[in-house]
Structure formats: structure tokens, C-alpha cells
Symmetry: D2
């Protein structure tokens, strides 16, 4: 079976990685999820990224992943495209997640390089080719060294794009120099890849460098802000883009308020705490072994929402 052709319509713009609202006892909170998705679509997002890292996908059993996917695609109901994260250690496990997601007709699958086992560059490229062969929808590469501990090479990504194996890249590599180079190589190859940045506070710079859009965790909290930023970029109103980015960067300070927490316990925890303060979701419960943000940090997050005119 040969690699599939990407869809004609290239995904771009604002595609927030949806957090997963949980009840106090850790179950999927459907009413909160409905409000959260309405918050996104009312905010003007261009797509939804389900089961991304911000969804706590790594913490959920397969059945819970499926429950979330069913709920998200049901609520979104085709209003915007839904990308689906298929996060697992190696090729076959990722393929299994793709098969499980197939019945929800995703607009694309988002997969990282293999992790846990040390994997060389040839195997990483083969991994993505095998995913593309097996996929019922376009495949996106998720460049996330902080979790995966390898950096995807720009040459490989553009080659996979040119070969029709990748439709785009979600770049959360924290490597702006590398992103610029990826964008240049992509342009030189006829732009086979749609390039989305995952770094909420430097989206303006990414647009200058050649990004097509953004996958902002912070977009859960303020999708309208990112939609304005994107429209400013599209219309090359760089001053408006910069101003919006400054406000959003200020808002991003919420993730630095928790004390003694790292990773998603701090970042996703802050998004949930802010969304609760905004009345969008009902709890800031996190998956075990994480604990929710409590105490003064909750108040400081509320203050930042006020300062950035969301409350």
C-alpha cells in the first residue's frame, strides 16, 4: 500500500489541544466538555486537537481515550476539523490507536517519534512511513523533544512531506532557530507541510518565520485571543499581532504560579484552574498521580485573568 495523499484543504490557523475536563472523581465531565468546545468554537478556532499532550492522554487507558474521542467528535459535529493524537511508544501501538480512532473520521492523526526505547534516525523515518501507509487520514508529526527526547530533523520532515507521508508538523521543540530552517526548507520544496507552532508566547515570531498556525495549550483559556492573533498575521497587521501576543504572553504567566509542580501538573493544571475561574469547566481535577492546583496559586491565576481582561 502506498502512502496516502494529503487532503486538498490544508489545515492551518488556531487548533487548540483540548484539555479534558474531569469530575472530582476523575471521570470525563461531559457538560464541562460541551461548554469547553463551545468556548473554542465561539472563540473562532480553525480546528480542535483531541488527545494531544494537554489532554492528559498519557494518563488515560485506551477505553478512556475512546470515550473522549467519541464525546469530542460528537460535540464538535463537523463544525471544525478534529485532529487526533495517537501517542504511544512505538509504531504498532501508534497504529493501534489510529485504528481505534478511525470510526470517528478524524481530519488527521498526530504522532510523535518513537520514545522509551532509543531509536535512530533511520528508524524514526521508517516509523512515520509505516504510519502513513496504515493511516486513513493525513498524518502530522509532533516534534516534542521535552517528552520524546529526540528532535525531528528538518530534512527528514520535508522529505516525508514531499513524499506525501506527512501533512504537517506540530512543532513544540522549543527550537526557534530550527523552526525557521524547517520553514525555509519547506517553502523551497513547494510547502508540502503545514507548520503549526506549539509555543504560545512566541507565536508572532513563528508567523514571521513561516508558521501556518498554532496549537496553543493556552488557547483552551483564550481561543478568541489566538484567533485575533492569527487574523492579524494573515492580514500582515504585525503591530496588532504583536499587541495581542503581548497580552497572551502575560496570560501565560498562569502556568508559573503553582509552587512545587512541574510538567502538566503545572501547565495543564493552570489551564484548568483558569477555565474553572471563567466558569467554563467545573473542576480543576488532574489525573493521578498529579494533584490539582490549590491555595494561593488559584488566586494569582484569577488575578492574571483579570489583568488580561478575561474576567
Amino acid at each position: 500500500m502506498s502512502p496516502r495523499t494529503p487532503t486538498a484543504d490544508r489545515l492551518a490557523g488556531v487548533v487548540p489541544p483540548l484539555v479534558t475536563p474531569l469530575t472530582a472523581d476523575g471521570e470525563l465531565d461531559l457538560p464541562s466538555l460541551e461548554r469547553l468546545i463551545a468556548h473554542q468554537i465561539d472563540g473562532g478556532v480553525d480546528g480542535i486537537f483531541a488527545l494531544g499532550s494537554s489532554s492528559e492522554v498519557a494518563y488515560f487507558e485506551d477505553a478512556m481515550r475512546e470515550r473522549i474521542l467519541e464525546a469530542v467528535t460528537g460535540i464538535v459535529a463537523g463544525q471544525v476539523p478534529v485532529l487526533v493524537g495517537v501517542i504511544d511508544m512505538q509504531t504498532r501501538r501508534v497504529q493501534a490507536h489510529m485504528r481505534a480512532a478511525e470510526r470517528f473520521s478524524p481530519a488527521g492523526y498526530v504522532a510523535t517519534a518513537p520514545f522509551y526505547s532509543i531509536t535512530g534516525p533511520e528508524e524514526i523515518e521508517r516509523h512515520f512511513r509505516l504510519l502513513a501507509e496504515a493511516a486513513s487520514a493525513p498524518v502530522w508529526a509532533y516534534d516534542l523533544p521535552v517528552c520524546v527526547h529526540t528532535k525531528l530533523g528538518a530534512d527528514m520532515l520535508v522529505r516525508l512531506g514531499s513524499d506525501g507521508c506527512l501533512a504537517g508538523v506540530k512543532d513544540s521543540s522549543g527550537d526557534d532557530v530550527g523552526f525557521r530552517r524547517l520553514a525555509a526548507l519547506n517553502r523551497a520544496a513547494g510547502s508540502p507541510l503545514s507548520l503549526l507552532t506549539g509555543h504560545e508566547v512566541v507565536v508572532d515570531g513563528a508567523y514571521l518565520a513561516g508558521a501556518d498556525g498554532v496549537v496553543p495549550g493556552l488557547g483552551n483559556v483564550d481561543p478568541a485571543g489566538y484567533a485575533r492573533l492569527h487574523r492579524a498575521a494573515v492580514s500582515e497587521d504585525w503591530a496588532a499581532m504583536k499587541a495581542e501576543q503581548e497580552r497572551l504572553s502575560r496570560l501565560f504567566e498562569i502556568v508559573f504560579q503553582p509552587v512545587g509542580k512541574v510538567g502538566p501538573a503545572a501547565g495543564v493544571g493552570a489551564f484548568k484552574t483558569a477555565l474553572r475561574a471563567l466558569g467554563v469547566i467545573s473542576t480543576n481535577t488532574m489525573s493521578e498521580p498529579m494533584s490539582p492546583i490549590e491555595g494561593e496559586a488559584v488566586e494569582r491565576i484569577r488575578t492574571l485573568l483579570v489583568e488580561t481582561e478575561l474576567l
Copy 2:
């Protein structure tokens, strides 16, 4: 439910992490597995570690994990205890693997710290406590920073041991200084933990430092050698121990023969290639996206088997 009490009989000695023989098309090769397990038990091992990293567990879907576990426990048939690796990203997914393994009555579960998501020290400790609460058999901590990207602290491990949450540690941290300190802290606490080293070529030093045994990937190839090494250590025949270690360290050079391969593609690939040369298993097939070792490296591996008197 309170943490379970470790079994009275502490596992120690040689517990090889079994590789998974595959047919040329990637299916479980049962006849080879039978020969491989006979090779281990004839060699005098004290236990079998199923679904460890060397088994390519990260590459298999859940159904394949279960198939392997059913086959291994069926063939071993109680001749030695079987530890079961429950390798996954976060607590609930690990618990799911424990539940799936329960019907095979393992002697213990071996779990790493959470990975993929960044996880802080308090959450890592809570992770192991939650595993212990849910476990039907003793839990072992698997310290493997090269895959998991965190190092388990000695203080935490001994505390978890004293609280009955951990029965032992498989230390593949590559940190001999830390291992010595772990052994000293464990002794000072009354030795709640059984300590197994995972580093095949420095087992003699680990025994001096206080190891109770070894989980040698290379033991797949030469279980009898590790059994002799262990008996020499138990009888404090340090000269014999050192001599056996020297031969095994020479044998370990097989993992450095492949060119252009890293991680399990090189290491596990070399074990399989050697086992094929010894007539124990039928192919050296590796899971996708890895490819098997071919060409001159195969011949160099054979030469090393001759030099170390295995062929």
C-alpha cells in the same frame, strides 16, 4: 486497600529479561521460545523477567503482550518465578497492564517511573504507592533513566521498601555510585528491598556493593555464565566471580558489532543474532521500525561466541 506485604521469599540471583523470538513475519515464534526458556532453566537461572525492555515490550500491542505472557508462564510452568514488566507512560495505564497480567499469577510486577509527561518527585512516589495498592503481587521499581529520563532517588526507594510498597529494584541506571549508596541505605533500613543490577559487565562490582542478583540481557545468550558468577558471589569466591565476569564482558562486545544501529536494534538485535548462531532461536527478526542485524556484524558476533567458548 493498604499496600501489600512483600512475599516472604525474596527474589534474588539471575533473572534474565527474556527476549521475544519472532518469526520472519514478526509473529511470536513459539518453538523458539520453548527452546529459549529451556536454555535459561538449564542454565540455572533463578527467575525469568518477562516483558522487560529486552522483550521489545514497547513495540507490541496489548494483545501481543498478553500472548507472550501466556506463552512464557505456560512454558516456565512454575519451575522458576516470573516477573512481569508493566511498561507504560502513567499510573492508570500501568495498572491496566497489571490487571491484564493478573491471571498469569506473576511473582511480581516491574514498573518504571512515569515517562513521556514530565513528572515531579512527589508524583513519582505517589505513582509507586498507587501501583502497590492495586497490585496482586509485589511491585519492583525499574530504574532506567536512559528510557524514562528520570533517576529514582535512593531515599524514596528505601522508604517505599520500608512501607511495603516495593519488593525490590532493578537498577539499570548506569550510576554505580548511586547504587552503592542505595545498597547502604537499604541495609541500614533492614534490607526491605531486593536489589538487582541490570548492567551485565559490572555485576561483580555490583555484588561487592550489595546487589542481590542480576537481570542480564546478555543472560539470554549465556545464562549458565551468570549463574556461575552468582554462585561465586554467594560463596564469596571473588576470584572466580571476577574471572567469569571477564569472560562475560568479552561476550558483551557482541552489542558493539552492528554498524549504524542504536538502542535495542543493536543490543537486543545482537542477543537474538547470537541466540540464532547458538541454535536456540530461529531468526533474529526485530519489531518494526527496527531491522535485523545483517552482514559482517553477524560473523563478528559468531567469532565472539567462539572466543568465549559458547560455540
Copy 3:
């Protein structure tokens, strides 16, 4: 003695870290240095950074450092301010370099965090305070984790700026998210620090984030390009800024042409090879144990100079 007050005039704009032209036998090539400095000043730079990492300062004995400094300050002759790198392992050694440089009346000293020995955050802050106490000119912090293996915290930097111990930061941390946060904290504190980015290919994004200028190694080759980029930023002509950045990013590809070289052997080597092709310096000789770029890479660098309209 209390920390000194930064000069009233804040350094900003384009401050290239000057490479050191060498004769074929490794001596300072004065005629080439004269042409190189003229190339910079004609290009419209706002300052010169002498003895930065790009100067090969780490490779030179103290006497050579002094020779370079004497030559550079003599040739510059006050046309633009000269910052002086005082690169060494720990506080006293850095102070010794400051004393040796004093007679050349530098506009400021640029110092990294301590390196080689592991140093904690309190000691790093004390290091900069001790440097400020001993300095005859403003001190700049050089954030360069790739060489120094610690990242300078934004809170510490702004605190040192507010206390008059630091005049600015040269940020080569590769952390654009951190830079944005540093810029925001600095602004909130009344902008005590001048912030210069060291990343040649994402200067436009850095300006959006709040940079005051740039220290571009590539500016050795094309100072006029960076001067145009800076002027576009100052006049908020973002479209012109982006266009100039694109051209310079294309030019930066010269550093990826050498095969089998890393670090300054590739990067500074490419700058020297390009400057030789432009007729500015006479050799592309590098300090031992580095070797100069030879073979096809030289031709590919020339081609890139043509493509970017420098040749």
C-alpha cells in the same frame, strides 16, 4: 565598594562578535583585522563585541587576548563602543581578565556564569555581583547554555539589573519562550537591562518579543544586512524587517555546509570562509585543534554568498 551605575547611554542595535583573522601560521592578521573592522563600521554597526565566543577567545592565551584587544580598540578608535568578553571559568579568573582589559577603556564587560565546576544559583548570582563590584565599566551577562551548561534565570537577571549590577544580557540561550518572559519582566521593572539576542536567524521574532538589539556572529559577514534589519525594527516596518531576516537566514546556511565539523569549527569557520571569499580577510585559518574548512564546502559557501547578493 558598591555596584557601579550603568552608563546613561544604553547600548543597543547591532553589535557583532568580531571573529579573529589569523595568518596561515595562527598569528593575528592585522591587515585583515583592519579590513574586517572597516567592513563592520561601513556596514553601520552600533558597537563591536571583542573577545566573544566567535573570536576563538577560548583558544587563546592571555597574551593573545590582550594583543587582540589592543588591536581592536586601536582600530575602532572610538567610532563605536567596544564590549569586551571576559570568558573564564570562575569569578577571580574573570576579574583578572577585566583588570587586563581596563586600560583599553571598554564600554562594558561581557561575562558568562561560572563553568567547568558545577555551580548553584546562589553562587551564580554572587558571581555577577562580585564582577560588578570589581568592574570599571558596565557588566553584561552572557547567557550561553550550550557552552556554560547553565541557563540564567530571568528573575535573577532582572534583579541584578535593578540593583545596577548588570547593564544588559546577551541571550544565546536558544530559548525564545524564556527570552519573551525575560523581556516582559525587564519591562515591568522599568527596563534596567538592554537585551541583545545572539540568534542570527530569528532576530525579527526577538524584536517583536522586546529585544534592543542583536549580537550576530553572521554580522561579521553581512553587517549592513543586520543594520537594515535593526532600522526596520526601530521604525516598526515589520514587513521590511521580515524580508531582510529571510535573506539573512538564507545566508546563515553557510554554517551547515562543512561536513564532519561541529561548534566553532563549523560556524566561525564558515564566517571566516565567507569573509575570505568577500575579500575582507586573507585566510580561513582556525585555532588548534580546529582545522579550516576545505573542499566542496568552500564552493557551497561561495554560492550562498551569490544567492544572497553579497557576491
Copy 4:
């Protein structure tokens, strides 16, 4: 000039890296240094390593290095060989330190790989060859990735040994698997290198692996203990070796007593604090920007000295 031939007599045994006793105001404390060296020689050491990392060499100006070297070699007065650390960033700076040390007729120079600038493997090998060409005494390689951020390859080290460019290796790499392989390769090449381990708490394992001796920072405190350990190893009395190592590993706990300190501030600080408690040196003063150990940690260090029968 061709590389020099190593001296006939190969250095082995216990070679402590001497700490530098300082007066309260940071000057060299000569009376303490005399007592410290007498403590070493009375303890039965086989050599002294001056200006190693434990000496705080990275913190001293060149004049202070020379002062220390003059004092140490004067006091040792040929009773045992003196190795001299020549720690600096790149080849020429290291060569300058060798020239400065030449008049003290050292038994050898100890040099790391280049640091600060990123340096590739070919350049590292060339670095050591250039040092050997310029050296008036045998050169030792100091493998110290925690400071230098590269690991020296075993193949390269043995090749340099066989070519007469290196007399030995001080291995502080923390990689016991790599050390075993280095020892095996060295033996296979006719043992051109003398191999000294720098890891105080696993010296027994290193002797099993093939070490010729040890460079123990902790040997400053208890040289007699390490001399006993070495003699036990030489006479293959492995039980006595293990017992002595256990006591010394217990003593090493002094480095974990300081709170909020890392690197030499903790480790060397603990050695000095212990030596002060033993009456060998007068202060536990550390070089700026480090501060001395104070408070309860001092008492805990004293308790450990009592427990290990040194007080």
C-alpha cells in the same frame, strides 16, 4: 617533535587530588598545607595530584596556581611523584599551564578534553596529541564529563596510549560499564595506559574491572583507608578490600550533609570541613563565589568521622 615516551615506572596506587587549604581571607594557608601533605604521606599514598578539580583550580588565577604548585612540590620534596592538573578550555591555554609548571618537574600533566567551545572527536584526539608533543612529562587524560560535557572514547584513549601520547587516564566519568570496556581494550593493547578511577565509593569494583589505582577526593580525609584498600586489591584479598570500601563509602556520606550546596561547594567543602575537624587544616574556607559549610552540617560531618573511626 615526536610524542614523548612514558616513563618506565608506571604510576599506580593511591594519588589523592589535594585540596587547597585557605586562610579565612582566601590566601594559601601554608602551615595547613604542610600538615595536609604530611597526612597524605603518613597515610601511605603513592602520589599526589596537585591542581586537580578538588584543588579549586578553576577558581584560581594563574599566579595562585603557581604559588600552590611551588608549595606542594617543595613540601612533597620528591617523597612521592606529583601529577599536575593543567585545566583550561583549549589546547594553547593548557600548553601554557604546562610550560608554567615545567620548572617544578612534575611526574606528569593531567588534562581534560577541551571544554566551553563544542569540540568534535577528531579535534579532541588532536588536542591530546598536541599536548603530548609539547609536554616535558607524561600526559594523563582526565575523563570528567560532569565538568567537560564530553565523554572520552575508549578506542581513542587506548590508541593515544599505544602511540605514546598518553600515560594514563583518570576516569571520573561515572560510567562503570565504559570503564570496564576501557580496561579490556587497554589490556588487549598491552596495557599502555595506567587507569585510575576517581570514584571514591566504588573503587573495589574498579579494581575488579582492571583499575591500577585511585584518585580519591575523599583520600584527603582518609589516605590510610585508601592505601589499605589498594594493598588489599594488590594482594587480591577481596574481602578486606570490600570491607575497607564499605567503611570509606560510609565516610563519603559527608558530602551529602550540606544543604543547598552543589558541586565543589558541597564535596570539597565537606572534605575541608572534615579535615578541619581532624585538626589537619585550619579553616574550611572556599573560593568565591562559594561559601563554606556552616551550621548543623558541620556537626553531622563530625559524627560521620566518629562513626568511621577517624575521630
